[in-house]
């Protein structure tokens, strides 16, 4: 029988499909008019959407706010860059980035998962700051200048081959990868393990008494999120041909958090839409003022205060109503936070 969470997830899938359709339209139109810039900008937006997706997996499902997710994005990007300069193989770069991110995430996870809530946020923030600073000082990693000269690679997919320099081709490759990451995350959340994560966010203290290890669930979630960030990051040097320590800085992590809040926390697809939305408002508002951060900040605060499910929160209930079986139609959606009693608020 279909339940509420599965229904919400399906509604997200409908919106994700819509995004894919829009992307394909862009690809068709873009290639028809021979556009390069907008396709590559959209590719970049999708790559950062992957980072936002990883933030949403942590924040929206296990309830852990990471202020340093760019760390793994950066590790993925640097690993991929180093591999590509030696061997221009897409699959090797992706594999190495995944491996490296995974190893680093085990260490980071062991540190960060000792704590919860705001402390988790502060630790992840600090972790990323420290690593970024170290990278900033390592000459072999290009130090503050970063590394340029990452070749434009050909991506072999079975008998076919796509050049990363081909705007439409690479856009489609990134689209497939990011949507695959989205699908994998959605799949994960619709498994018994994923439901434990949802439970973790709803009431962490109750979870161990149901027989699940909170630490293990959080750790697996942390690793999965790091992998998503790392794989997204691995795509960046293929697109731009360089990496720089700024990719690990707080602003990169902060942008991902802003994307998630604007798009809608805990909706997965919201991270993707939020990321695209952020790119759009940045370039639109940025075209008439240098002080666009004020407007983004205001939008962000409005999102936190008044729109707990962001943009998706406006749209998804309608989609749910359209696709819901009858038995789920009348009941209240689980979107709203249940009102809580004062004693539960007190830490």
């Amino acid at each position: 029988m279909l339940d509420r969470l599965t229904l919400s997830m399906r509604a997200s899938h409908v919106l994700a499909a819509l995004l894919v359709v829009a992307a394909l339209v862009l690809a068709v139109v873009g290639s028809a008019i021979g556009d390069t810039f907008y396709l590559r900008l959209a590719t970049e937006a999708l790559i950062f959407a992957g980072l936002a997706l990883s933030v949403d997996l942590l924040l929206g499902y296990s309830g852990a706010l990471s202020l340093g997710q760019a760390l793994y994005f950066g590790i993925g990007a640097y690993t991929s860059a180093l591999v590509l300069m030696k061997v221009p193989s897409f699959w090797l770069a992706m594999g190495a980035a995944a491996g490296m991110t995974f190893v680093c995430a085990i260490i980071g996870g062991l540190i960060a998962n000792r704590v919860r809530g705001v402390y988790f946020a502060l630790i992840t923030f600090g972790l990323a700051q420290v690593v970024a600073k170290v990278v900033y000082n390592i000459r072999d990693l290009g130090a503050s200048d970063g590394m340029i000269g990452i070749p434009v690679i050909d991506i072999g997919i079975g008998p076919f081959s796509v050049s990363a320099g081909n705007p439409v081709g690479f856009f489609l490759v990134v689209l497939v990868i990011i949507m695959a990451l989205y699908a994998a995350t959605a799949y994960l959340l619709d498994t018994p393990f994923g439901r434990v994560l949802t439970a973790l966010k709803a009431n962490e203290k109750r979870v161990p008494f149901l027989g699940y290890s909170v630490w293990r669930a959080r750790m697996v979630c942390y690793l999965a999120a790091a992998l998503i960030a790392g794989l997204s990051g691995a795509l960046y040097p293929m697109l731009r041909g360089f990496v720089s320590p700024e990719l690990m800085f707080f602003m990169t992590s902060g942008n991902a958090v802003i994307s998630v809040i604007l798009g809608g926390v805990g909706t997965l697809v919201g991270a993707l839409y939020g990321s695209v939305f952020l790119v759009i408002i940045k370039s639109v508002i940025g075209s008439w003022t240098d002080h666009y951060l004020i407007i983004i900040g205001l939008l962000f605060m409005a999102g936190v205060l008044f729109m707990p499910k962001g943009l998706i929160g406006f749209v998804r209930p309608h989609v749910e109503r359209m696709i819901a079986p009858r038995h789920l139609r009348e009941t209240r959606a689980p979107e709203q936070d249940a009102p809580l009693k004062a004693e539960e608020v007190k830490p």
Partner: protein
């Protein structure tokens, strides 16, 4: 940002009309400007923008480049390479600019240079001074119109050791790649000329408090201190040294980016006596420079600084090259730029064909109540150093 660009067009057009210059029939030549208006380097970006606008206005008033008006299209570098590359790509692809300049962050200059190469366009920097841009990481599509770190330290070291042979020097740099290489370059230059190094320390970027190093500095009893910090860090370091009475007995010298108009206000008297090797000072006593400074002041109420002057000169270099090539075609303009000699407020500059580095006379300037007094001059040939670019 497009709009901002058009505002410049409008201003240029108005200026042209006002001066009853020629009415343009031809398509404009589009120059892309990626320079920070947000982030740490925003104050530098301000000078870059102003200087380019001034140059564009003048060029258009005088009939443009080959009869075509110049349009600037300005984008925000945000002081990060990632943003710079994104904006540069827009300029190359959407706005279809013929030429790109303005990047400040060295990483951004390198990344944008690579993008220019892949887009078969030309990019220049008038600010970034990391040696690598025209050395081991040089690109056939990248030119540097300003003096690099090596030129600056060569000039400064020559002057310093003339003043104080066998000077005892203490070095303080920011603890990251750029800071370390700047210190290393000056140290090599100075030691070659007979200086004694009595100690060095690298402070983290964004240090709040430099006082923790003062004991070591005092104990080493140096006569000269070389610093290569920048921006807010300089303001803190020098005012704190002043508070601790360290400035009384020390000659402080440093990299050219150490003191600029952005932190001069905060430094006040603490900046007095600071000497640096630079490609420019508003005090340069030539008619070209006097006119430039006067026009700049009239338009923006402040003096141009090093970045302003170099950016101003960039547009004239491009003008000269296009006119020499008779085209805006990348390959032809590149060929014209290589070996080009043109006039700037700093005097004539020549672009060395081998590494695309501008050669220019270098000045040693000393700050005196907010003014950069010129105290020495080193010829272009003596300052430039060897060509180590091997890519073209």
């Amino acid at each position: 940002m497009k709009i901002r660009g058009y505002k410049v067009v409008l201003a240029a057009a108005l200026a042209a009309t006002a001066l009853s210059g020629p009415a343009f029939a031809a398509d404009p030549i589009k120059v892309g400007v990626v320079t920070p208006s947000t982030g740490t380097f925003a104050p530098i970006g301000q000078q870059v923008r102003w200087a380019l606008e001034l140059a564009a206005k003048e060029i258009n008033a005088a009939g443009g480049i080959m009869g075509r008006p110049v349009t600037l299209i300005v984008e925000d570098e945000e002081t990060t390479p990632a943003a710079a590359v994104q904006k540069a790509e827009k300029l190359f692809q959407v706005d279809n600019v013929d030429f790109l300049t303005g990047t400040v962050n060295s990483g951004a200059t390198l990344a944008v240079g690579q993008l220019a190469e892949r887009n078969k366009k030309l990019a220049t920097t008038s600010v970034s001074f990391a040696d690598s841009i025209t050395a081991d990481k040089c690109s056939p599509n990248v030119f540097r119109v300003n003096a690099r770190a090596g030129q600056q330290s060569a000039a400064l070291a020559a002057w310093l050791l003339k003043q104080k042979p066998k000077a005892k020097i203490y070095y303080l740099g920011p603890d990251y790649e750029m800071g370390r290489s700047t210190v290393a370059a000056f140290k090599a230059n100075a030691e070659k000329l007979g200086a004694q190094s009595v100690g060095e320390v690298f402070a983290p970027n964004d240090s709040k408090d430099y006082t923790q190093f003062f004991g070591q500095i005092r104990a080493a009893r140096p006569e000269v201190m070389y610093i290569s910090v920048a921006g807010n860090d300089t303001a803190r370091l020098l005012t704190q040294m002043q508070d601790f009475g360290l400035l009384n007995s020390l000659q402080v010298v440093g990299a050219s980016g150490t003191i600029t108009s952005a932190n001069m206000g905060a430094l006040g008297a603490a900046a007095n006596g600071f000497a640096t090797g630079a490609g420019y000072s508003p005090q340069i006593d030539t008619p070209e420079n006097k006119k430039f400074v006067a026009d700049f002041r009239a338009a923006y109420k402040v003096d141009p600084d090093l970045y302003g002057a170099d950016s101003y000169g960039t547009l004239y270099a491009y003008k000269a090259a296009v006119e020499k090539a008779g085209s805006t075609d990348t390959d032809k303009v590149r060929a014209a730029l290589e070996g080009l000699t043109w006039n700037t407020p700093q005097g004539p500059k020549t672009i060395r064909a081998g590494d695309h580095q501008a050669m220019q006379p270098m000045y040693v300037v000393r700050i005196n109540n907010g003014k950069f007094d010129i105290i020495d001059k080193v010829s272009a040939e003596d300052a430039i150093g060897p060509d180590t670019c091997t890519r073209f």
